[in-house]
């Protein structure tokens, strides 16, 4: 086994793999080190109970960008774009509401709302398009900017003024800093519809619909949706892992699993290698970390090897995870109230109104959780029967908002959480409790322990305005290079942030290639 390379990538999640594939294709010798037994990170396959498997902790995503698919030849390596999935908001009194693409339908939906929805979506997709050049490039520096920074800024300015036109630009600037609660109340009357949009705006972040900046987080999500709406992969999100892995390997990258990096070796302000948990030492001219910035700088590098204020900024990154994960092995399909049994390959939401979502959010600020959390449910075994024994199913549930640090402590608090969730599910799918054969409940603390994502945060740090663009993850490391020479970041903690986009990995690779790493 080789112990030197041009580049060592820490972590083989989808961003680490994307970065590895790009760098290997550019002719660099790449070793990608993964602590888990298999690559994929939050998209890696997982099993629970004796007979149940899950295709990844992340259970849905937006399609990968066509550029990424083309440049990494993902289709050659078996990438099949997932199937668009409708979203169904469950509501026990008003009945379910179904959203798909630009259409919305459901009992008691007003004609005005049904007519307004496509117009509203078009307008916000147009806004999201304006942000796209910024998201697909490294975030521009405002001070000491180079020609590429200036080009990105000029493009943003041009698209705002001339792409949107004066009136729409005015509207964009009006809403960009707003919260989604006010915006949606201005626009729609249907509570279920407003809640469905609001949940997409805040899911994964420690924010409620009324938190300032929630329009911007929604726009970032819409920017990913420009590639297509939410999709469910047949094999789950791990369907993107195998093609990325093969694309990287075919270009010569080595991917080593069960190789947990304990320390990034930094001497005199320069990174030159890593030390694994087993004491093995590997050296490289360039170290790229897809671990979250707090783990990278404070655990792997160590604050003493950084400048004091930079270390302070990293330590202050806001990013306590607020989403728990519930996995159920069921002896049959659950029956959601009012939903036809023939439509199980949907994304189901329990969060019937924005007030419900906001109330679910409030207690998490104090280390507690609501009796009625927001649930986002998929049934991966519907499209992939291999995940469960014949005739049985697995249910994958994102649970918001669950604190990383429970006031009472998770050691004693987990059973109560499970009971709360099952009681809530039972109200929407009567009889579910008796269908449960196996279960697994992962708090944000469990997600941190299992996936090494700091404080169990999906996005490796909140997608708040003060942690976006040239401030993501922090000032001084926002263009993928860091104050530590030869150390780069390529994970979700970087611009443009989380979700399964591969963009941080791609941008980081471009950044590394435009810098001479052999210096």
């Amino acid at each position: 086994m080789t112990d030197t390379a041009d580049v060592i990538i820490v972590g083989a999640g989808h961003n680490g793999l994307t970065c590895a594939a790009y760098l290997a294709r550019a002719g660099m010798q790449v070793i990608c080190l993964e602590s888990a037994p298999q690559p994929g990170g939050l998209s890696a396959k997982r099993s629970f109970g004796e007979h149940y498997r899950l295709p990844g902790l992340a259970h849905w995503s937006y399609p990968l960008s066509p550029t990424l698919c083309r440049e990494l030849e993902l289709e050659r390596f078996g990438y099949v774009p997932g199937k668009p999935a409708d979203t169904v908001v469950l509501d026990r009194s008003a009945g379910p509401l179904t959203l798909g693409g630009n259409s919305v339908s459901g009992e008691s939906l007003s004609r005005q709302d049904a007519a307004e929805y496509p117009r509203f979506r078009d307008q916000y997709l147009e806004f999201a398009k304006v942000l796209r050049p910024v998201l697909k490039n490294r975030p521009p520096r405002l001070k000491d900017s180079d020609s590429r920074d200036k080009r990105t800024l000029a493009r943003l300015g041009w698209d705002l003024r001339f792409g949107l036109g004066r009136d729409k630009m005015g509207e964009f600037l009006r809403v960009a800093g707003m919260n989604i609660f006010d915006l949606l109340n201005d626009t729609f009357s249907d509570e279920r519809l407003k809640a469905a949009i609001a949940v997409d705006a805040v899911m994964g972040n420690g924010m409620g619909p009324r938190t300032p900046g929630s329009v911007l987080t929604w726009l970032t999500r819409l920017a990913a949706e420009l590639n297509g709406g939410p999709v469910l992969y047949d094999g789950g999100t791990s369907d993107i892992v195998a093609p990325l892995t093969q694309s990287a390997q075919s270009a010569g990258a080595t991917i080593r699993c069960d190789a947990r990096v304990e320390r990034i070796v930094v001497e005199n302000g320069r990174a030159g290698g890593v030390v694994l948990e087993n004491g093995e030492r590997l050296t490289a001219a360039c170290i790229v970390s897809s671990a979250d910035p707090r783990t990278t700088f404070l655990s792997l590098v160590g604050a003493p090897r950084l400048d004091a204020m930079f270390a302070r900024r990293v330590a202050q990154i806001r990013g306590a995870g607020v989403v728990a994960k519930l996995h159920l092995g069921l002896d049959g399909l659950p029956a959601f109230d009012g939903v036809e049994a023939s439509q199980p390959d949907r994304r189901f939401l329990i969060g019937p109104s924005m007030r419900y979502v906001e109330r679910a959010f409030n207690p998490v600020k104090y280390g507690e959780y609501s009796d009625e959390p927001v649930l986002e449910i998929t049934l991966p075994s519907v499209n992939n029967p291999d995940l469960a024994p014949a005739g049985q199913h697995v249910m994958s549930v994102n649970v918001a908002y669950i604190p990383y640090k429970l006031k009472a402590g998770w050691e004693s608090g987990k059973t109560a959480l499970f009971d709360t969730l099952i009681a809530l599910l039972e109200r929407y799918a009567p009889g579910l409790r008796s269908q449960i054969v196996a279960h697994e409940c992962l708090t944000p603390a469990d997600i941190e322990a299992g996936y090494l994502a700091g404080e169990g945060h999906w996005h490796h740090g909140e997608l708040a305005l003060h942690q976006s663009l040239m401030l993501r993850p922090v000032h001084g490391a926002a263009q993928y290079d860091t104050p530590v020479e030869n150390l780069y970041l390529c994970g979700a903690g970087c611009h443009p942030g989380g979700d399964l986009t591969g963009l941080p990995g791609q941008n980081a690779a471009w950044r590394i290639l435009e810098t001479d790493v052999s210096r």
Binding site: L298, A303, D307, A308, M309
Partner: protein, 398 residues
């Protein structure tokens, strides 16, 4: 000394020595230093100045910020904080140090006293607890403010050795410059260091507040031609400029209080390259300082001797008479002992060099009417005043 609970009723805190100084004060000319009441002038500025240069000056330096730094990572912590290599410091020694922010700009300067293994005292001009705490992340280190717990007295001047010895402070004959030692004055434990801010022979004495007056009284009880005077900050300002010592926050703006781009200063820019060690391993600001060092210096806080006898005050500096302004005087004093106008001036360099000529435009008043004078200036690379008796061990007895 813990502050009594009524301290908020006063705008300024008092030190254990304040009562003694109040009794001696003829001018009632007071000012604030770190929120303590301290004299600018006690009696007469000339008397106080000459006490430093030819007698024995006594100054209350209790308001100096003092931090105790202990723990298994104390040395590692200080080496990451400070620009100087502290691994060479030994117990019983003191080092002049500066520290920078991430951009390599000066936050403050001070002295580090190594009191034992992994046991240090850091003295600084300005309050630093927040920066020290912030810098402590990742280190096993305990940082305590000692400013209010230790009374400090600077005894400085050519006769200071004789005065302190006569007062009963033992062990001074073997105390070299930058040594610090535990000693006694009768029954009182006293920490004494051969350090100071005057550029003359002198000592700093550190005692528990309850012993402060015993120390004071022992010094002032000495009879004879030692010329012992308590001094204020105005005399200190004169002698520190003569000695070429800088004062952060006065000669340049400290980094963490600077808002405007380009207004903070690096160690190189204030002439302190000798306290920066880029080879000792990582410290805060190292990356920025390495980049700065790679390019020719752009400005320098410079010691200037200004011709003539006009009070320099706040003058601008020019490369040619009536030419382009390239600098400004930050502090200037008339030196009675050198009979010269001395100044510290912030001057722009061209390709890393001083211009061939330097001129100061001095604006001054005669009977309330303003006049301008152009005076040539000379750069001084050494301290203006550094007497031989300053560093002799044992010092000459008087």
């Amino acid at each position: 000394m813990s502050i009594d609970r009524q301290h908020f009723r006063l705008a300024l805190a008092t030190t254990p020595f304040t009562g003694r100084i109040e009794a001696l004060s003829k001018t009632e000319n007071w000012t604030a230093w770190n929120s303590y009441k301290v004299p600018r002038v006690v009696d007469n500025l000339s008397t106080e100045y000459f006490a430093v240069r030819s007698g024995c000056s006594v100054m209350d330096m209790t308001p100096m910020e003092k931090y105790r730094i202990r723990g298994s990572d104390a040395l590692a912590f200080l080496d990451r904080l400070l620009t100087r290599d502290l691994s060479k410091l030994r117990t019983g020694r003191v080092s002049y140090v500066v520290w920078c922010n991430d951009e390599g700009k000066l936050i403050d300067d001070g002295t580090v006293f190594q009191l034992g293994e992994q046991d240090y005292r850091l003295c600084s001009q300005h309050h630093q607890l927040d920066w020290l705490r912030l810098s402590a992340a990742g280190f096993d280190v305990d940082i305590e403010t000692e400013t209010h717990e230790i009374a400090a007295l600077a005894v400085q001047g050519p006769t200071s050795y004789s005065v302190l010895t006569a007062a009963g402070v033992t062990g001074l004959d073997t105390l070299r410059p930058f040594d610090v030692r535990e000693t006694r004055l009768g029954d009182i434990p006293v920490t004494v260091s051969r350090t100071g801010y005057t550029g003359d022979l002198g000592y700093e004495l550190w005692v528990a507040p309850e012993h402060a007056l015993a120390l004071w009284d022992a010094v002032f009880a000495i009879q004879g031609l030692y010329d012992i005077h308590v001094i204020g900050l105005d005399a200190l300002e004169m002698v520190r400029v003569e000695a070429g010592f800088i004062m952060p926050g006065f000669d340049f703006n400290t980094a963490e209080t600077t808002v405007r781009d380009g207004y903070a200063r690096s160690p190189y820019e204030v002439g302190l390259s000798w306290v920066v060690n880029l080879d000792k391993g990582h410290f805060t600001g190292r990356r920025a300082l390495m980049a700065e060092k790679a390019a020719p210096p752009r400005r320098r806080l410079t010691k200037l001797v200004v011709d003539g006898n006009k009070p320099v005050g706040e003058a601008f500096i020019y490369a040619r008479k009536r030419g382009r302004q390239i600098g400004e005087v930050k502090v200037a004093v008339w030196s009675p002992i050198l009979k010269a106008n001395l100044a510290l001036a912030d001057i722009e360099l061209k390709k890393g060099r001083f211009p061939d000529t330097l001129w100061a435009r001095i604006d001054y008043q005669r009977e309330l009417k303003w006049h301008s004078a152009w005076e040539p200036c000379r750069v001084s690379t050494k301290p203006f005043y550094s007497p031989e008796h300053r560093s002799a061990t044992p010092p000459e007895a008087c």
